[in-house]
Subunit: 792 residues, 2 copies
């Protein structure tokens, strides 16, 4: 690299540093054309300087790499609050002004640029949805690297540069992400280039990796399968030169690995296994590099004191003000911008062109790349239902067949993947293995359905599964995350953050819609009878129903054909987080294909065959009691309860309503799916009591129903945090959602006491007593462990 190229890198870096500091401090005088005065300073100083010079260096260097190689590069910024740095760079390359024309490339634009930063009505201090070129929010730390891998999968031409701060490096999810390289196929996936940025300090003290000897940091990356190169120093020219060499070498190595692999053989380099060892860079620069060295007699540069605002009292303290001015002028703003406040052409030329710019790559605005999924007609996988509640099937197995054909249809487009923590087979989705293997680079001949190039992703980590999928979706592809219901809470926080991302993205016209995050919760609380209490928890429903209705949908299909209909809808949808809850065990089937299609489209409906009203409810006349059910096991118990009522108290008018689309129950206008109050009354009446069986935590349903006509008449039976190692039927008894509990509640709540009620009550009580005895004496008798279905 010649000296002028190095000059260019440093010039870009200094300018970006300048704009970073300007955003943190200034509300006026953005180019210091006047002497700096207290009135130019924002009243409240927010922002994170410490990490920013490192991010600016990376950006400048990636720009050079792209110009040199014309590579497609996606930049993921882990260090949470390095927002002003990335904003500065996207402004310099022009993308910020293209996306936000009011922030133009002139003096007025610069004034708006600095004023908008971390200020009311402006933009957050961290990298976030409004930042072009980002698919990653730098708020909750831990997911940078897992998002990077998700972006790289099936994007063979892409290089994902991912800066990981040594703060984030302390989180569990980040530490778990390094192993992503074991799942990266050099033939068909792109590359991830981690840049572990060690500035050795967090908000108020040292980081763990900052205190670990160099050789241990490198050993850690090597042990995870990487080949790290070190770049360290505090002299800008020196560090830029070193980094440029390291980056060039990394790029060459990436291309070499890919070329060898794509020519039909894996490259050597990995000891023992013969797999490639991908390059990584360890960047060690002072925290707050090139900022104030000492403030009020205390060292700042290179310490935790540089984390946020290194000169805190600029408005009040003239010495701080002078220090700030000297610091900023040191970056020579007058030399970087012309008289109109426009970046000088020599600097502007250092940015790549068009969509190769990091801020405008379509990979960071995945909707631009998104193609509709070539979905097969889901009717092809339908269960034949000769009559309601007559046959049983494993509902998720049918979905597995649909996914299998989806894999086949996306064999060349490679834009769909299933992610699952080690349970694809267990969740009855194993049909996919007829078409695709599980991805693992270090496969052996004796393995079953495992190998490089596989597109089924299994790793025993909900964080990795969900994070990979998020990265995959945000770069314009499709997918599904299937997991145990209880352990879905492991990555609940990621679901929240992804929901918030989508909420933000929907407000920005320039962000094209992306495919929805589809989460299939199976192995549910009601059927984790054999695993016990720690495996029984439907809490993700609680988490998601509080999130924005613009984004969140919750579906509880009662059977296979409804699941197919719901899944088809979810896989076609955009910008949602779809929760689909259904168990994997054999279960009764209720609706034929057409009925299921209509039922799911409506979101909820009366099951005339299960109640006493037959085909059509009499709108003018409310039944004596309504039985409502939401979810597969609740539907089973409700249908059985209605059958008991029909048989034993035939004169009681009973209506059965099944709900698939949970949030359709939310009163309008709270959710786009909210059914009208008229429709609600059609289904549930206005005065009649509604004995409701709900899959999730019983009381959570009340927060959905509040505001509906006479909502207090809904009596919800649901999961009540009662569980143990037991039988499926005992689970519904323990939680008082069994058919007998529902019958007893229906008789208690019904508008009249039918003939036979007392006898039926006795019957139910007897059954429950027998059941309790059965459980109590079980260890002595050891009768068959069986699933009590629909019998009295």
């Amino acid at each position: 690299m010649d000296a002028s190229e190095l000059d260019d890198l440093v010039a870009w870096w200094e300018t970006a540093n300048y704009l970073t500091v300007a955003q943190i401090y200034l509300q006026e005088n953005p180019l210091l054309r006047e002497p700096l005065a207290p009135a130019h300073i924002k009243p409240r100083l927010l922002g994170h300087w410490g990490t920013s010079p490192g991010l600016n260096l990376v950006y400048a260097q990636l720009n050079r790499l792209i110009r040199r190689t014309d590579a497609a590069v996606l930049n993921i910024t882990g260090p949470g609050h390095g927002g002003p740095a990335i904003v500065a760079n996207t402004y310099m390359e022009g993308t910020w002004s293209e996306v936000y024309p009011e922030v133009g490339r002139d003096l007025d634009g610069l004034r708006r640029l600095v004023r908008q930063f971390s200020t009311p009505g402006g933009i957050p201090s961290h990298v976030s949805v409004p930042v072009p070129g980002s698919i990653h929010e730098g708020g909750e730390l831990g997911y940078a690297l897992v998002h990077a891998f998700g972006a790289a999968f099936d994007n063979p031409d892409l290089i994902v540069a991912c800066t990981v701060g040594d703060g984030e490096a302390e989180t569990g999810p980040l530490e778990g992400s390094w192993k992503g390289v074991r799942f990266l196929d050099p033939r068909r996936d792109g590359a991830v280039l981690p840049i572990l940025h060690l500035n050795e300090n967090k908000i108020s003290g040292p980081t763990v990796l900052g205190r670990v000897p160099d050789e241990e940091v490198h050993a850690l990356l090597r042990a995870h399968g990487w080949a790290p190169a070190e770049v360290a120093g505090d002299d800008p020219r020196e560090v830029h030169a070193l980094f440029a060499s390291a980056l060039d070498a990394a790029y060459d190595e990436i291309r070499a690995i890919q070329q060898v692999a794509r020519a039909g053989a894996h490259a050597g380099g990995r000891s023992g296994s013969g797999l490639p060892r991908w390059p990584a860079i360890v960047l060690r620069t002072p925290k707050g590099w090139s900022g104030p060295k000492v403030v009020d007699g205390k060292p700042v540069e290179g310490t935790f004191r540089a984390h946020q605002v290194p000169l805190p009292n600029v408005r009040e303290n003239p010495e701080h003000l002078a220090q700030l001015e000297a610091w900023m002028r040191g970056y020579r703003p007058q030399a970087r911008f012309d008289e109109h406040g426009r970046l000088i052409p020599e600097l502007a030329a250092l940015s790549p062109r068009g969509d190769r710019r990091l801020g405008s790559t379509p990979y960071a605005n995945g909707g631009r790349l998104l193609r509709d999924l070539d979905l097969p007609d889901y009717g092809r996988y339908a269960v034949d239902v000769p009559g309601p509640a007559a046959t049983r099937a494993e509902s998720t197995r049918r979905l597995g067949e649909l996914l299998r054909d989806l894999y086949a249809r996306t064999e060349t487009t490679r834009d769909f993947r299933l992610f699952c923590p080690d349970e694809t087979n267990s969740n009855r989705l194993g049909a996919v293995f007829e078409v695709s293997e599980r991805e693992l680079e270090e496969a052996r001949p004796e393995d079953e359905k495992i190998g490089p190039g596989g597109r089924v992703m299994e790793v025993l980590s909900e964080h990795l599964c969900q994070g990979w999928l998020e990265g995959y979706l945000l770069t314009g592809r499709h997918g599904m995350f299937a997991t145990y219901e209880a352990f879905a809470m492991v990555s609940a926080s990621m679901a929240i953050q992804h929901t918030k991302w989508l909420e933000g993205a929907r407000r920005l016209a320039w962000r094209a819609p992306v495919s929805s995050l589809n989460v299939l919760l199976t192995s549910t609380c009601w059927r984790n009878d054999h695993n016990g209490f720690s495996h029984q928890g439907p809490g993700l429903i609680d988490t998601m129903i509080s999130m924005s209705g613009d984004v969140v949908r919750v579906y509880l299909p009662p059977d296979a054909n409804c699941l197919l209909s719901v899944a088809d809808h979810c896989l076609r949808s955009r910008d949602y987080v779809n929760l689909i809850v259904i168990d994997k065990q054999p279960q009764l089937q209720y609706l034929g294909l057409d009925a299921a299609r209509a039922h799911c489209a409506a979101g909820a409906g009366t099951w005339g065959w299960a109640g006493t009203e037959g085909g059509a409810a009499d709108g003018a006349r409310e039944p004596d009691v309504v039985l409502a059910c939401i979810g597969d096991v609740p539907s089973l118990e409700t249908v059985a309860a209605a059958w008991l009522l029909r048989r034993h108290v035939p004169e009681l008018r009973v209506r059965v309503v099944n709900v698939v689309d949970l949030l359709a129950l939310t009163p309008p206008p709270l959710h786009p799916h909210s059914m009208s109050d008229e429709r609600f009354v059609e289904l549930f009446g206005t005065e009649v009591d509604v004995v409701t069986a709900f899959h999730g935590y019983a009381r959570a349903l009340h927060q959905v129903l509040h505001g509906r006509p006479n909502a207090a008449r809904f009596h919800v039976h649901g999961f009540n945090e009662q569980g143990t190692t037991t039988t499926p039927f005992d689970m519904v008894v323990l939680n008082e959602m069994s058919r007998y509990h529902l019958v007893l509640d229906a008789l208690r709540r019904a508008r009249r006491v039918p003939a036979g009620a007392a006898a039926l009550e006795r019957l139910c009580a007897t059954q429950l007593t027998r059941h309790r005895a059965y459980v109590r004496e079980h260890l002595e008798d050891m009768p068959e462990i069986r699933d009590w279905v629909w019998s009295d």
Copy 2:
């Protein structure tokens, strides 16, 4: 080690293997005194054989170590479902029968032992609460090692052996846990001895570490700061001999490190930094070791097929049955038990004695070691409140002073720690640093408040903070986890699992109560105005209120003195998960010490000074409207709204009710704190509308209130997933919880229209319009960014 000692190890191991298999398969004939018949086999075969032989080896070896050294050892079993192995060992050592006398040490007891396993009414298939000697549930994977560290902190004599499976090793939290060694003080903490058990397979395929070359596994542990020793093989005697040497060497090294450190110097060994490198063991044995090698022509031992039940069809398939019998008889049950079914004395003698047994160590039943905290009188830290809503203070700062003195008082007992992801100072709890430093082994002279031996735990990982605390509590100590409200969701799943653990433990009389898990949520949604939307989320409340009321409490103190009272109560409590929610920013103070004490004891009360009724509400006469508030910012807005109403429509009778103890609102008998309906009516009336301001997600409150008299009259304003980078006041406006929104709602809901209502409505509308204009024009005007408090 001589041959007879090796014989003993193998004999114990084979016997434990036998009992493991017996639990998985048998319901009768536990010692195979008859030929094995289908009727002896359980009707449903559940359990995990694959990991069990390794766990049995570890147990046998730890027994020997304890007998040899009299060391106090706690055994933590990460591999989730290895329950039958640990149960077998505790049975053999006698603790199972001591805890559960019905499962005696004879033939009948053996029959009960095998029947109870993973069967309805019995025990789960994974290591769980009922297993003596365990502080760790093997259900949700990822927390074994973090629990081990929590147990070791401040237990200088303890060695925590922690088996980590290669499945669990794939999770993010586990990968993040290795670094715990950087926080372990050899002078004052015990030791953690990780045993990374690589059997190379999970449920249906290879593990990542199982496929990584040996040297990379070792490099990974070395890079994390450990000195791993390898034990590998498939010949039992050979592996036992190797493991015994490795374990002896590890023990000697642990004691050497501790002796040197406790003599006043750190031991050498760590390259570069001079810190000790703690021993670890990598154990590589075949999955399902010593089980069937081939079943139905397919290899089983050493493959994923050995994960659960290696012979699946024993009842139906005579060949499988014969294979099972041969397998079991290979362990020679007839030689291990006497004619009464009692373990032969030679084997029984291999177990340690009394509380040195792994199943009966008090460290695994921490309540037995628990001492009451020597809490200072919290009144000492009270804020002086000359009158309600007259002064402001940072409430958490007062708590920090209490914690400081708690640190001082526990200087010698060392049984309290604060855990916080890097935010102790930011959360205004920094007073603790006057007494204790942050623990970090690799400290430097220039560091502030950081060093070995510190008891304030900061690491940028919610998983580590919470997991360490859980381990610390379950071994009989006290503590608090303070974290950002939004990012508390990162470890929400751990909070759920800990709650479930406590629910289970409360039902077992032999488990002595432990100190509560106290979670302080600060930096709340309402005051993360500057950070923006990703930092705004009160979701942990939603998660916790669905959990069991026997364990969960949620407190929202409105000010400093209430916080002190609540914290004092929580720190004294046992077996709870206490959520305390309060922001860290300067906030209005309402109650003097005595008033706060009484208010918190009651859980909720009328604030006469804020409403129109003065000192005492007139029980007989309902006000025109009730304003209820729950949380600090809601209290501020409610008090301001009441003030506006008093000033502008003085004839309107307004009552202000503040709620500290959220679940007191739950109708009885759902929560032990549920206030009676009489008390509820005293506070909220029966007919009057209640305009409620709630800290959390607005609609979540309805699930708490459902079932209270006329619950539909509660109109809740709360967090509504509206947020951005803005001002604190704009946050309450965006979520329609501002004083003006509350006033408008109160006027709309009040039982009569007072004189002046229209004018006040106009005033509110004007203020909101002005506010919207303020926000819209903000970037142009840049007025002071300020916190609008109590003014119109």
